[in-house]
């Protein structure tokens, strides 16, 4: 038995014009959680695709349990014991939990029909592994919350009894609490001898769950290290290739903040949130923390007029407003950067310039005509100001990296010169380098007088950026904290209250 369950040696993979992987090494021990980190484009995804048989490497070798392997398909990789849980869930929502776990491998009875009892019995065994006996295996997957859907996805991946499980950004749609539960599940699996390859942008998670880390940059292997021997600065420096001291920038002096710019008084929307009162001052960045489902996004969308509130008052610069549509909110100077840039924010097949112009066609027009000259000018300025790395303003945003896409969207919203900007998960799926730039743009926007309400599930981001923090819990404001003195524990305590409630479907 070799020391490593999985080894990749000197992997090279070239795409037309690009060397995606250039001599990457990876050594994974049995029963460990091994993190792979790097910026977008560093080669993490390509490496995973090579390991799971999606791509064949140009050169280099994959050694599984001492035997050299050459997978020609993902199915073959699974057969040899390498399973992957992708970022985008691959479940069939209209089928049951059990049928999803055993997709295409359902136990059958004598006449070849699916044996429901046996299927559900075996699914229950798997659910018990993560102490989720409360989920009925015949529940349809679409009726589960995202966290439990992901559990099903993981169970599906381990139901082939793999020796290596790859998790690609598993916490991207989970709350802090749900992430902790996921880590417990991962520990359960590694305790049974399974090796876990863990890919994440959230560096704090690496210190929580991984024992070893491999750092990639520009398709090259930088180093690997035992997590116990390193700190976050070491990770960031090696990922980015330069020293980044404080990605959140410097919090301004509270005395320099402006007058109250935006105020909510007992705002309510049935089924979403109730009696929400809060204040955001000019130049202030206010964090809105809480669990997924606490009503934060619903509150943001209500203020923006997308789903208007049912009662309560909204004041902007002392005047009462009640935007009934995003159009009226934008006219009032309110912007809303949505949490999901791909499905709700961007026009993926349109070029950068069309995306930047989408929310302010009227200010980029002369009379009834759209002015191409004004659009070009605004586009050039945005590409320069926000350092959007793009082949050109005419390229569709689908081809950009996550960080650059987010900069385009943020640029569009800063472009309306908002009095209040609501940003919902502003750095989700964005790598460290672009993240620190986005934080810089938000700080600069606030310094120019804009009030910023930042909804985020990333606690370190909330703590690092906010001048003040409101914490929401089941549709209410559970408390208010000062940005300078708040801690993870104080936010989590407010967000969760006493009970966790882990078995709600």
């Amino acid at each position: 038995m070799s020391e490593y369950i999985l080894e990749a040696r000197d992997i090279v993979k070239t795409f037309p014009g690009v060397k995606a992987l250039d001599g990457v090494d990876l050594k994974v021990r049995r029963g460990e959680t091994h993190a792979v980190v790097g910026e977008n484009g560093a080669g993490k995804s390509t490496l995973m695709m090579v390991l799971t048989g999606v791509y064949r490497p140009d050169s280099g070798s994959i050694v599984l349990d001492g035997r050299e392997m050459a997978f020609s398909s993902p199915q073959e990789a699974v057969r040899h014991g390498i399973s992957i849980v992708y970022q985008e869930l691959s479940l069939v929502p209209s089928l049951s939990v059990a049928e999803n776990i055993f997709a295409n491998r359902q136990p059958v009875n004598g006449i070849g029909a699916i044996d429901k009892n046996e299927l559900n019995r075996r699914a229950r065994e798997y659910l018990a592994l993560f102490d989720l006996e409360c989920i009925d295996p015949s529940t349809l997957v679409k009726n589960l919350n995202p966290a439990n859907q992901q559990v099903v996805e993981i169970l599906k991946a381990i139901s082939t009894d793999p020796s290596v499980l790859i998790l690609d950004e598993p916490t991207s749609s989970l709350t802090e609490i749900e992430s902790k539960r996921l880590f417990d599940n991962i520990r359960t699996l590694t305790g049974r001898g399974l090796a876990c390859l863990y890919i994440s942008h959230h560096l704090s998670e690496i210190f929580e769950i991984a024992s070893t880390v491999t750092i990639l940059r520009d398709g090259r292997f930088v180093c690997d290290a035992s997590v116990a021997d390193i700190d976050e600065d070491f990770l960031v420096t090696n990922m980015v290739g330069r020293t980044i001291t404080d990605i959140y920038g410097v919090r301004p002096d509270p005395a320099s903040l402006g007058a109250p710019r935006f105020e909510l008084r007992t705002l309510s929307r049935k089924g979403a949130f109730s009696d929400v009162s809060l204040i955001v001052r000019a130049k202030e960045i206010v964090g809105l923390a809480g669990l997924v489902g606490a009503g934060r996004t619903e509150l943001g969308r209500a203020v923006f007029g997308a789903e208007p509130p049912h009662s309560g008052e909204m004041l902007l610069d002392g005047k009462e407003i009640s935007p009934q549509s995003p159009g009226t909110a934008i006219a009032l100077g309110i912007g809303y950067l949505t949490e999901d840039r791909k499905t709700q924010g961007l026009f993926l097949d349109f070029p950068i310039r069309a995306n930047l112009a989408a929310n302010r066609l009227s200010s980029l027009s002369k009379g009834p005509f759209v002015s191409e000259a004004l659009v070009d000018e605004a586009t050039e300025r945005a590409i320069r100001d926000y350092r959007i790395a793009a082949g050109g303003a005419k390229k569709s945003v689908r081809t950009l990296s996550g960080g650059n896409q987010q900069k385009v969207l943020l640029g569009a919203w800063i472009g309306i010169e908002p009095r209040l900007l609501i940003v919902d998960e502003p750095t989700r799926g964005v790598d460290v380098g672009a993240r620190s730039e986005i934080y810089g743009f938000l700080r600069a926007l606030a310094a120019r007088g804009t009030a910023i309400l930042m909804i985020s599930s990333d606690l370190t981001e909330i703590l690092g950026m906010s001048d003040r923090i409101y914490v929401m819990k089941s549709g209410h404001i559970a408390g208010e904290l000062e940005g300078g003195t708040a801690t993870e524990e104080s936010v989590i305590a407010l967000a969760t209250g006493a009970a966790g409630g882990e078995c709600e479907a």
Binding site: F15, P16, G17, V18, A20, E39, N40, G41, A42, R217, D218, G219, V240, G241, R242, F304, A306, S325, P326, G327, A329, I330, A331, Y336, T338, T343, Q344, G345, L346, F347, L348, D349, F350, A354, A358, N359, L361, S362, S365, P368, F369, V370, A389, A390, G391, K395, S396, R398, T399, L400, S401, N404, A412, G433
Partner: protein
């Protein structure tokens, strides 16, 4: 060279070249082809569907779809003719006809955007509803005996050109400029590109969608009036299959069923291409039964070329994105 690349990359350029190619070949193949009368006949033949295609382009750019235009053509033609036969003067009869077309569009738009019925299903039922109503009001007979003032809409000559061609030309040019340059109609592209993002960008999506169906109904109504005037009678079978020819023209011209792309000029070229192919086959003495087949093949080839172009562009873009991401990372390093 940049403008050259941009020009040649346009769908309109490709279709335009094919149209020119056919014209050049045909001018040698048939002495009748380039005759003024033949060219006018081609344009007159496509003018009705081109009028509908103007509004259909805006609708399909915004991600919509209307199967009922052929039935609207027939229904508006029949009701206008009935009004005229009952002695209603031409102007009010035409205005009422246009209003009926717009109202049918409003009905389509309402059940699609407010009730949330799929556009294909909703307008498929309208297709039968209004074809059926046409049969009911006309009792299965053609309605003729229309006043000369009405017939002039379809039969008068201006500068030696029939009015349907003039009406179509004005609407095509006006429509193309509107969709290309007007802020108001640019919103259609955003809605077709990503409806949810358009809503969150402050675009009044539902209102625009209802309006797009209304415009389509209005233009189909106008087409029905022009057609009735030209024929001098309302036929209960008028516009049968028109919806498919219009949608085919719009797609050949660069639109897709997903929305977000397409142009009025392109749709006109698509329509012209189909009409020229039909005309060429007739002049060359090819069996008429082949015409429909050739139009199907044209559509297939147009979308295949488009798809191949997209896939290779996407492959290139994917490589470039990786390269730019990496070079970006390197620059910052």
């Amino acid at each position: 060279m940049n403008w050259f690349k941009r020009l040649t990359g346009q769908r309109e350029f490709m279709i335009g070249c094919i149209v020119l190619g056919i014209m050049v070949v045909m001018s040698f193949a048939s002495p009748y082809f380039l005759a003024w009368d033949n060219l006018l006949a081609v344009l007159l033949g496509l003018s009705i569907e081109a009028i509908v295609a103007v509004a259909m382009t805006n609708l399909m750019v915004s991600g919509g779809f209307d199967m009922s235009v052929g039935s609207i053509v027939a229904f508006v033609g029949a009701t206008t003719a009935l009004l005229l036969a009952k002695g209603v003067p031409t102007v009010p009869a035409v205005l009422i006809g246009l209003a009926i077309g717009a109202l049918i569009g409003l009905f389509n738009g309402f059940i699609i955007s407010k009730v949330g019925i799929n556009p294909f299903v909703a307008t498929l039922s309208s297709l039968s509803l209004f074809r059926g109503l046409t049969l009911i009001v006309s009792r299965g007979r053609n309605i003729s005996g229309l006043p000369d003032s009405f017939a002039a809409i379809g039969q008068a000559m201006l500068f030696g050109v029939q009015t349907p061609i003039i009406i179509a030309a004005v609407l095509i040019i006006g429509g193309d400029i509107m969709l290309r340059r007007f802020r108001f109609f640019r919103q259609s592209y955003y809605i077709g590109g990503n409806e949810r993002a358009a809503r969150l960008s402050g675009i009044a999506v539902d209102r625009m969608k209802v309006l797009a169906y209304m415009l389509t109904g209005l233009f189909a109504g106008l087409a029905g009036i022009v057609m009735t005037a030209r024929l001098g009678a309302a036929s209960m079978t008028a516009g049968t299959g028109l919806e498919l020819r219009v949608i085919t023209a719009v797609i050949i011209g660069g639109a897709s069923l997903q929305g977000g792309e397409g142009s009025v000029f392109g749709a006109f070229l698509g329509s012209l291409l189909m009409a020229l192919i039909t005309n060429a086959l007739t002049l060359l003495g090819v069996d008429v039964y082949w015409q429909t087949f050739v139009i199907g093949a044209t559509l297939l080839v147009a979308v295949l070329i488009d798809q191949l172009g997209k896939t290779s562009a996407q492959a290139k873009a994917a490589g470039a994105a990786k390269a730019s991401a990496e070079s970006g990372a390197r620059k910052s390093a």
